[in-house]
Amino acid sequence: MKYAGLLVLPAGFFLSIAALLLFPSPAPRAAFVVCGLAVEGLGLGVAMRGHMEPRGGDRS
């Protein structure tokens, strides 16, 4: 889970970059950049959940 989320983050980044290259007009370009950010948000959420420590499960 924790690594899956971190792998989704670059996918969102590449989606944003693809928007710059594929859409010359401002509206679809902005929409796709926002979609890229949304994918990153999902990835961050998954990574956060994956890194949650079990209660009382201190590593030390």
Partner: protein, 435 residues
């Protein structure tokens, strides 16, 4: 190789002013160091402050030897401005090229030398931010190694992309997105990088012992010295004013007449933030919370780093108020909902505050397309920089373990790593928080 873009000429007055401001900028570093120390425990105070000092030293040496070459400050080299590749008919300048060990710096343009000095301060502050989040359990040598990694690889890449003619700064030229990604005071290169590094460190080292017991709420582990924290906030204000104004001159090429409003915006953002945090904590807890107010103040300053040189005073106040409202709520949410043990609140203050400032710079900037440029910058920070930092720290943790052993955490980092505490004349009581 891409040719170096010509730098705008800088007047003697602007040069002298920028140099003077850069001599004041370390007060921001001192302020953050005091805040980091005060928010940790008394039995780790010396280690915390020594760590901040050591990080300044490590980043300065590593950045001089390696990092500055990859940052590729324009004008430091006459032959080239960076490595580029072609994609979609556009040039993507992704890596700076320069001599190692600052070779040829003495004969470079004065403005380039000032830019380099700014970057030395910036890399130190960026590497200090995660140190506060790993307080009470992050080993000194591991902290220094992580700072070296940031100074050698990650910060130079980001500084090149944002400040030194890299692809983010060229979004305006290549894609018509406003003036390209704007970050005059280092919200992205310093604070979001530092805040995301803090998140990576917390994921790797885990919470402090006893922070999240098997039953009940998370254990409150308040900072040990509110005076350090609040005095650090005042010191940071002086440093931030200098930082944002110097950044506006160097990276936004602002005229001298535009500088007072940059300083006023910085102050208004911090003021709005601390007032909002004061009100939120008063309503939420019945009394204002000093350490959360300090975090709110700092979040306002961080948000101003992105937009103080771009927006008007009214929006600057708004930016601060939003940062101040969000800070106490997010600190609580991260701790209670996702079990993030962040003693200094760096993720909220530096990462979220910085991201909000960058977004606000796009929302309130006069140029068309600026918002999309800022969003692409934010996407780069979250989608590329965070995984890169996590990967590098994860690998580093295999070589130099980040977390101190259980005995070290029990007796405190001061005794364990340094053999003496910060307050030898005071009795350190047993930690009642362990359940």
């Amino acid at each position: 190789m891409t040719p170096t873009p010509p730098l705008p000429l800088m007047s003697d007055a602007a040069f002298a002013l920028t140099l003077a401001l850069l001599f004041l900028a370390p007060l921001a570093i001192a302020g953050v160091a005091l805040i980091n120390t005060g928010l940790g425990r008394s039995r780790s105070a010396t280690q915390a402050l020594l760590g901040n000092l050591g990080i300044v030293a490590v980043t300065a040496i590593v950045f001089a030897v390696v990092g500055a070459a990859f940052a590729g400050t324009p004008g430091l080299l006459s032959c080239c401005g960076g490595h580029s590749f072609q994609l979609g008919g556009k040039s993507w300048n992704w890596l700076g090229t320069g001599p190692f060990l600052l070779g040829g710096m003495g004969s470079s343009a004065p403005q380039s030398q000032l830019g380099l000095l700014f970057e030395f301060m910036a890399v130190a502050l960026a590497a200090m931010v995660p140190w506060g989040s790993g307080a009470d359990r992050w080993r000194l040598t591991a902290g220094f190694a992580a700072a070296a990694v940031l100074a050698a690889i990650v910060f130079p890449l980001l500084a090149h992309w944002v400040w030194n003619g890299g692809w983010l700064s060229q979004l305006g030229v290549n894609f018509g997105l406003g003036a390209g990604f704007l970050d005059g005071g280092g919200a992205a290169t310093v604070h979001v990088l530092g805040g995301l590094s803090a998140l990576a460190v917390i994921w790797i080292v885990g919470p402090r012992k006893g922070k999240f017991p098997k039953e009940g709420f998370a254990t409150a582990m308040p900072g040990h010295n509110a005076v350090y924290i609040l005095f650090g906030c005042l010191l940071a204000l002086v440093g931030w004013l200098a930082w944002n104004v110097a950044g506006a001159i160097l990276w936004l090429h602002a005229p001298l007449t535009a500088l007072p409003v940059t300083a006023i915006n910085t102050l208004l953002s911090a003021a709005g933030a601390v007032a909002a945090t004061f009100a939120v904590t008063q309503v939420r807890f019945g009394k204002p919370d000093a350490s959360l107010c300090a975090n709110g103040w700092l979040a306002g300053l961080v948000a101003s780093s992105a937009c103080a040189g771009i927006i008007a005073p009214g929006p600057a106040l708004f930016v601060g108020i939003v940062a101040g409202i969000a800070t106490p709520l997010l600190v609580e949410l991260l701790e209670l909902a996702v079990s993030i043990d962040d003693p200094s609140g760096a993720i909220t203050v530096h990462a979220v505050g910085g991201l909000w400032g960058l977004l606000a710079a796009g929302l309130f900037a006069p140029q068309a397309g600026q918002l999309v440029a800022q969003l692409v910058g934010i996407a780069t920070l979250l989608g590329l920089v965070l995984p890169l930092v996590y990967l590098l720290f994860w690998l580093l943790n295999r070589v130099i373990p980040f977390r101190v052993d259980p005995d070290g955490e029990r007796i405190g980092m001061d005794m364990h790593e340094l053999g003496g505490g910060a307050y030898p004349e005071f009795v350190i009581h047993r930690d009642e928080s362990y359940r």
